[in-house]
Symmetry: D2
Subunit: 346 residues, 4 copies
Amino acid sequence: MNFASDNWAGATPQVMAALVRANDGAAPAYGSDALTKRVTGLFAEVFETPVEIWFTATGTASNSLGLAALSRPGGVVFCAKDAHIQSDESGATEFQSGGMKLIDVTSPLGKVDAGTLAAALARHPDGGRSVPVALSLTNATEWGTVYSVAEVTELSRVARGRGLAVHMDGARFGNAVAALGVTPAEITWKAGVDFLSFGGTKNGCWAAEAIVCFKPGLFADMEQRRQRAGHTFSKARFVAAQFEAYLSDGNWLRWAGTANARAEQLRAGLRGNGAARLAWENAANEVFAVLPKAAIARVRDAGGSLYEWPAEGTGVSLGAGEEVVRLVTSWTTGEAEVARFLELVR
Amino acid sequence: MNFASDNWAGATPQVMAALVRANDGAAPAYGSDALTKRVTGLFAEVFETPVEIWFTATGTASNSLGLAALSRPGGVVFCAKDAHIQSDESGATEFQSGGMKLIDVTSPLGKVDAGTLAAALARHPDGGRSVPVALSLTNATEWGTVYSVAEVTELSRVARGRGLAVHMDGARFGNAVAALGVTPAEITWKAGVDFLSFGGTKNGCWAAEAIVCFKPGLFADMEQRRQRAGHTFSKARFVAAQFEAYLSDGNWLRWAGTANARAEQLRAGLRGNGAARLAWENAANEVFAVLPKAAIARVRDAGGSLYEWPAEGTGVSLGAGEEVVRLVTSWTTGEAEVARFLELVR
Amino acid sequence: MNFASDNWAGATPQVMAALVRANDGAAPAYGSDALTKRVTGLFAEVFETPVEIWFTATGTASNSLGLAALSRPGGVVFCAKDAHIQSDESGATEFQSGGMKLIDVTSPLGKVDAGTLAAALARHPDGGRSVPVALSLTNATEWGTVYSVAEVTELSRVARGRGLAVHMDGARFGNAVAALGVTPAEITWKAGVDFLSFGGTKNGCWAAEAIVCFKPGLFADMEQRRQRAGHTFSKARFVAAQFEAYLSDGNWLRWAGTANARAEQLRAGLRGNGAARLAWENAANEVFAVLPKAAIARVRDAGGSLYEWPAEGTGVSLGAGEEVVRLVTSWTTGEAEVARFLELVR
Amino acid sequence: MNFASDNWAGATPQVMAALVRANDGAAPAYGSDALTKRVTGLFAEVFETPVEIWFTATGTASNSLGLAALSRPGGVVFCAKDAHIQSDESGATEFQSGGMKLIDVTSPLGKVDAGTLAAALARHPDGGRSVPVALSLTNATEWGTVYSVAEVTELSRVARGRGLAVHMDGARFGNAVAALGVTPAEITWKAGVDFLSFGGTKNGCWAAEAIVCFKPGLFADMEQRRQRAGHTFSKARFVAAQFEAYLSDGNWLRWAGTANARAEQLRAGLRGNGAARLAWENAANEVFAVLPKAAIARVRDAGGSLYEWPAEGTGVSLGAGEEVVRLVTSWTTGEAEVARFLELVR
């Protein structure tokens, strides 16, 4: 009953097998090996367009190195208040970029909306001391909600109208794509996204993260930027191997689909539940629920894991003895596990 | 006949097996899992003292995050001219530290010596605009030479006399320890080293690097520093697994010993060679040789790999048609491979 | 009729005379001259406590260098949304500090209040990825309001309870002290302030800014930090001379008092005005008024200067054809000038 | 007998008078005043080409902000070992640029030469981990020597051949131009210099420093860069006023010429001196001499000031009881003062 995080799960058998295969013999270092080249081609296939990719150790590295590559003095990145780059990365983007500022343009449910963004841009006119540089959208968001193609398109239109680049933090990109039922291309570059932090780690890999750039040439000097940040793996093929398994045979969307289905099973069970309830509706593999403390205790006593979530700022009203909790599913989550949880919180 | 680099080799069977074992079931993220804790204990055993450790993605990250944690305005780090931090990291230490300066205090054979260091320190008196902060020694060095316990002790004495911290870049620490025949403790904290970039990647792992701090408390805020640099692996157990295999049963020193033995086989063969010769004598798993270009071509035609090395600044005089080359051995290098190479360059 | 800004005014005759006096003969550079030493003593007298001071070129430099000296990875500074450090300095604090984050804890009227701050601190527990480092208060604020001794004391109590340093941005410190009728000591260190950006430029100097530190030793390496930021004037005595005139004979408070009195004259005239009105009440030398556009045009046609102020976020409701404007008075503002303005907007 | 530094001297009467004139009335802040605009025109006249200029507080700020504007990850700036940016600025360029590295390409007499530079560039090929970005030349140098037009032209040719920008640190630019007898244009943009740190402070101003850019558009975002570094003076006219006096009527070259003439008087006296001698020949307003310690003591006893200079690395052989000293002249240095000094050291 691990609902603490999808990063508590291990790697899929396919990823492990690919690692074993990739271990055979010597190969050039720093990404000049054949496997890494093959994987670059796989990314282009999946996104139906030529892309530039750079592996990094973590999603935080992808987010901050990509945004930093666009840095300007006085630079501002717009994002949601609960965006990982704003709340969970110890100022990685500020640091890597030499001091850009992140400005909160949240609307309900952890998403930026176009009106809020337009108003914020109006407060930062061209030539001022603050220089709008980029819009960052997390998809799926930290609230488990997803941006639709229409929403991303509209946000990109507003952002690009002022010359901003559009970044998508895709730590759970597979879950978003699987939930939306669109192609990876439709929800990214076709909708105006310039670059993507593509995460495989949470969805069945060990450590497989990449910056995917849809505008070849946008990131001058990224090799040196990555090197000075300590993100140039010498044995890059161990990351490439993970991505090869990930992107082959639709594996990544199937694994994400499994996680999403278990989340939907959770949501369904909580909707019709007397004692517990959904904190808000969403679509990907994170579920936010209001539970009585006693129910939380029962889950933990049974060896289950989950995180409590601060209710403040969510708009959720809690009754006496209630808490908001976050439940995350992964490719390892089983139907029985979910059923057991639902029984415990009934 | 891979002599290009030890980072062209894959992971050892023991490391692969440990990864497979570690993949079983869910585990808390970000290093709070049981395996990571166990590995911390292993490090303490190997170094015979309590240590603090932080995993990072690369040696560059270990070097730069450790040195940056000691940063001061006007700060200066002393190192050899060919130190990896000076020549191969795209300014990682300057960047992570917010602008510290690296000052070259090389002496022959890629090593810092105490006299050169003392003279440099004298040129940077206390209270001046430049603030001496740390001494960084690579062991084994980029020239394949090693610092003895006596040398490290003397250098540390000079450095500490002015309040400097002492860093050891141990990208090839296993090779140094195996070559020196000392204990890990003797060549580090017992000789005055405050922290070590401990590298497993080049010596049989995939990506296993750690900052090892012998002065608990020296690195305040390292967790946040690592996080903002994007080096906090969520599934930390996959690094821990590699180190578990690495540090168990003396594996790391055996693997390093194999690489060193193959290097010695190379050196012995080149010493008694008419057409080729050693560029200089050294002790670890890198060999620098002077070869006729024709011999280099024969090696490459036979599928062998090696790197040419700039002769300028090495003090080596080249005859017509000669080049300096670097030959690196690893745990995978076989005796027959070496013999074949020696035959080709004869 | 300059109401655009107090930094449109020149230097007072006393400041000019001091500059001329200081120009006589040679004097050691970089602040080791006798005049700079004497001025340090003047600061100690004015604040009734030993202080450390460092001259800088601008208030932005004072703010950002002081806060940066306290920087930690993941560091967070709490301030008001309209704080100069947040809105008008092109990310100076983020930059100088290597990436600290500024978090908005505004309450009404451009001031931080203790409850808002306490709630924000609760969201950033010890040991988390964000590390609360400092509280920054502007006094007088960007809204022309002032923090009382009681308010600063309570805010400092909350901040220090979590180990935060307390900074006061005193770009208009003279106006605040004159408005409050307290001693400089009472509104700073006696109320829990650790360091102050002390501004003389807006209040009768040319360029006279200093970091004033009430906790000797708090700012290790400030000399080198200032040097690398390019803020170590070689001919420091020309800054010292300005401060000598400024701090002597109560000049600074008299000049600030004049500016405040003219602002009060403006406020009084606007309170009893049919066509115009105060946007909000305040106390120092900035007045915010709601004016019909036609009145603004009349002022400008008569050669007057003032700035329009975005109404959004101020809580002020505008009628048709109305704007919020900011009116700033200085030591040069005359009674007749104010009277003329009031006539024009009637 | 102040030979300690030209920055121990005050401002010229013309500069003081200009400050007094500029103090009359209100003027727009941040450089949008009429005087600042007029001064921009003066710079264009003096350099016979359109220029962009930005005032800063110090030469360190000019150097570091200009170079930082060209920063790239892995970036390298080539300069002489004793360049002020390398030895006296507490890492300002490294800091402002987010970690660029300064590489020493000195040749004799404190000057870079083209061969040394070319060799260094060859060691940093395109696409490598280090990225050559700029060449920085100090003119007059820290050794009191000057680069001729031919030397600057040749150095620029080599630098531009690899895409480097060429920077001139002109802390003593007036002294160089006066010594060379060339036009400001000839020794800068006509010789391949892209931007200049133009210093007035040492040569008769209080604090008058500017970045002068000969390639309009080279420095995108310099306004914001300057603001975030705290170098945007609000009352910019006080800097403009100094430059107005400085650049009018050939004042700056006359003042520099006076200082140079006094230095030549020193050199002449030392050439024919039995007890003392020149450490090396040079041309601007710094003189380096070898003096017996007893002579140094006599000068100091008579109230004179000078600095001892480390002989190490200069190639000067000292006899017993000898020291190298630096003697700096300024617009205030009188003939009698020099004569008195020469008498004392005879």
